[in-house]
Amino acid sequence: MTVDMESRLAQALRARAVEVEPDARTWELVQSRLRRSRQRRMVLAGAAAVAVVALAAVAVPALLGPGVIQFEPPVADQPGEEDASTGEDTGVVEDPGPGEDAQPEGGAVAVPDLEPCQESVTTAAVISRDGNLWTACANGLVVPLAEGEATDRRPAVSPDGAALVFERTEPGGEFPLLVHRALAGDASDTIRGGGMLPAFAPDGRLAWVQDAGDGTSVIQFGEVFAEPEGEAGVPSPAEDIRSLQWDAGGERLLYTVGGAGGIAVWTYEPAAGHFQVVLSPEAGYVAAAFGPDGTLAALHASGDLDVLDPQVLSGGELLVERTITSGIAPVDAESQPFLAPAGLVRVDVASSSLLAWSHAEEPSWFVGDGAWLYLAEASGATTAVTEGVDGVAVNPAVELGTAAHAGTETGGPEASGEARSEVEARQRELEAVERARAAAEEAAQTALVRGRARTLQEAAARRDTATLRAMMAPDFTYSFGAAADRDDALAHFEADPGLLDQLVDLLGTPHGVIEGAGPALYVWPRAHGLDPTEWTGSELATLRSLGATEAEIEAWQAGEGYTGLRAGMTADGRWRFLVAGD
């Protein structure tokens, strides 16, 4: 487009914009929505008599039904619902007021009443978003826990699901407090001296980080609703602690130091009083956490989620066992990424605005890249769940996957004899072993292709034509001009580097696999490897992120098949094609 056309485009946009003026009632809309938010908090405080029942695992299957949990992000109110206020624009936003946050007698910090999940339904997870806490209920609703002027974050749920601990920073406050709150009942307390980064051990002990007053940090230990075990705490040799977590056995603490510019990972064994640095910032990781099965996962600045060989915890060499996903966006150095085990859940994008958590066979991970929350499944499927989340704590007492399977696998009143049950159990065991073996093989193959895809993506980003050429298969296919051979294709890339930008975006999405009579082909986007009737919301979201219009998507799903930009790679990592159109 010529410079003249660009100037006229700019002029036309400005001319279009000045044709309209904002509604004079917008200010009322803003105030109305802020007031409604405050009113909801007051109603919740009044409903504190509604108890949250922490259910035993045996009761969970019945309540969870077939096992679909829906996560519904809050949707903003729509015009037309505002109250009848027609007051003049005073230019003042009504102060929501201290509300339930007011200081009671005695000086203790009052804890806002929780917004419980609906009666008889348990809390599946607690989410920290935009300075407020939300509960994700087992029935699928996500409801605010408390909203106020204080900043609440870093939730941690006790192993029995009875207690919630989180950081609270009051307006004007210098340091965060640690707040205990029972998920059932009214007990509440704050930890004397404040603190941050609460972490529950499997036996219910709490560890947290406290400011020693001289710029150093100490690690404190204690029981919920009791005084800290030791006044002095255990001084940490490293400052700027960003995360704290116990291992599955409760014998070792893992904590990270530093931010998205690269973290150091430390361990501390309370019994031995031994500190050790196990990962240095030079490795390029920005978050690390233990999984429920003892795995050690780490998020790389490139967006890869890696499982590390646990020998690194004993001072061994840093080895990546496998890469769970490369589907996370590269982490900005200024962001605050986090990593948290998600348990046995997976995400299906069921419709336009609902995400359904259903049960998985293997543990998944919540990954925050500082902007979006992702759920990374063991299969590598990665779904962007929502934005603005900076912490998630799954309720350890809700064993979703195990409970659901226990409720559906065994026979009912017409159960057969013992011998038949034993055979069936053995069969299931063999099938599980086979699935695990196949999964391991696939994971290894996938890791190879993902590594090659990352190499290709990086070469495209830095316009490294030598590497691009080296990665092209001998029969590389290209449809953006009359490319007779690989050199022709490279010449087109040099003339139109925007195509390489599109390739970078494309390779940043999850891949699919086309399997047929010949060798498997790995393709991007994943939608290209699926029949359009099989596309879920995850594929649709990816296509839209790549620039596909609704009209195009409808045409593809109507029978045309995916004809957008697509790339393919062979199983041994050769770049097979970059095409678009029929």
Partner: protein, 169 residues
Amino acid sequence: MRQPTSSPSGPDFADLFAAHRVEAFRLAYLLCGDRDRADDLVADAFVKVYRRWRKGGIDNPRAYLRRTVVNEANSRFRRVALERREAARQWGDDRGVKGPDDQVAESEAVAAALAKLPVRQRSAVVLRYYADLPEREVAEILGVSIGTVKSSVSRALERMRPLLAEGVS
């Protein structure tokens, strides 16, 4: 230890609203193409900005507000929930809907062309040519690389060129 949080000081929120509401509305209008939706979107954006502003830490309210408006407009949930209803009513789609008249003003042609763009391309064009932001700032707002901004703008202009040529008298 991390820096302590503090309450905001300086102009109150009403001043911030008064200073930026028109620009925010016009940006929202160009992004979503509908006045009522733009009003609704801007109100939500100011609510979100207020909550962050109240906690302190917004160094550049204008830039923060602009980013919030773009994010609100491009929010997947809002777009999927609303655009499917609104697109056919407001702009129609590619099949069988009346196009612009021969004598339509250039701004109408631009608006129609804009509406046919994918979300990211539309955002990039509006931020580059209406807000007149450099590519670096556009990349920061959209959360993408500068290269992606370049390619998004380039592809958008390619799509718009024939539509603009038709609409210009």
